[in-house]
Symmetry: C2
Subunit: 204 residues, 2 copies
């Protein structure tokens, strides 16, 4: 079956955004990263209706009606945290984006959210720590933390968030169609493997 | 760096042997699967000396000298089981094979045994259960167990063995350079991705 939706899960610094952009550009399809999905979820008027339909994604679904409290209500809403509210909104946005047509989605656990779509290709990108440390300094500059600390903290946040919302283990290869260690394979080469796989899927 | 040694870890029925053969044939290098490595370990005169050198691979290394008890001594040898003895012999055989020159090694936790070789490319192959069930019946025929039982039992054995001897989680993508779901990617296509990666590594 033709793969139209490409989800890219990635370790911090492994090149997910860059590779996602190359794939989207070469295939001529829209690119969405986590930040963009989050912005859409926050601003979109259509999110709440999908939130209701897809409430099984919420770990505290039983108090789900509180998600419809006014946006101004901060923090915990009778058991549904703003994090959970946003997660639900993101699920609905990602499901909606995939419904709209071909695209590349980086991050936001889109692999899990779109796991039941046979036209989705799920990719996971990792890289050696040394390679990632060098890359994040080049891309995002120095901070008061060491690159190793920044990697460790961000990896942990992604891993814990993924496990919390999906019940799966972060980086378990059986959840993906393709996993690549970009420090071995290369950024351009990794993008090409994904593009070739999508193009070949059109022949099947 | 040029990748000369290709290790292929795989779920039962995911096409590891077939893909390994294609890769070895097209690259013109020797192919070793788990059975062959085991045979060499059993028959080889050079194994014991490596066993001694690489005893850190044994989970019960402290009683390692008992590994040199005559082959006829069955079962547990004062704490070092025959399984552990064979594991050590296999480690030595795999390290030796890699030292000899380019090759493809399927199974036997070769990814872990050769994890410190920068010229090794580590591949993991998975596939959907339905695809694997169909494939093992086509390849190996029916047995008195259902294909699902056979998959489950063999997967479990490999997973437990891997965890026992390596301390790693079976199928964790960060331990591999490339992981492919062959039921999505295809057998020939998976082989081609591996071959292309090896060929490209020669240019770097």
């Amino acid at each position: 079956m033709e793969k139209k939706i490409i989800t890219i899960s990635r370790e911090f610094g492994a090149g997910g955004r860059t590779i996602g952009h190359i794939v989207a550009d070469k295939l001529g399809i829209p690119f969405y990263d986590g930040k963009l999905v989050e912005d859409i979820a926050k601003e979109s008027g259509f999110a709440p209706k999908f939130v209701e339909e897809h409430s099984e994604h919420s770990p505290s679904g039983s108090v789900f009606s509180y998600a419809f409290a006014p946006q101004g209500v901060p923090g915990i809403m009778n058991g549904l945290s703003t994090a959970d509210y946003l997660w639900n909104a993101q699920c609905s946005v990602i499901l909606e984006l995939a419904e709209k047509g071909p695209c590349v989605i980086v991050g936001r656990n889109a692999d899990y959210i779109l796991k039941d779509r046979p036209d989705a290709l799920h990719v996971y990108l990792s890289a050696d720590n040394e390679y990632r440390a060098k890359r994040i300094v080049e891309l995002y500059g120095e901070t008061d933390k060491t690159p190793e600390q920044r990697l460790s903290e961000k990896d942990k946040r992604r891993r814990v968030n993924y496990q919390h919302y999906t019940g799966r283990t972060w980086g378990q290869s059986q959840n993906y169609d393709i996993c690549l260690r970009t420090s071995t394979i290369g950024i351009e080469e990794s993008a090409q493997i994904i593009i070739d796989t999508v193009l070949k899927s059109r022949e099947k």
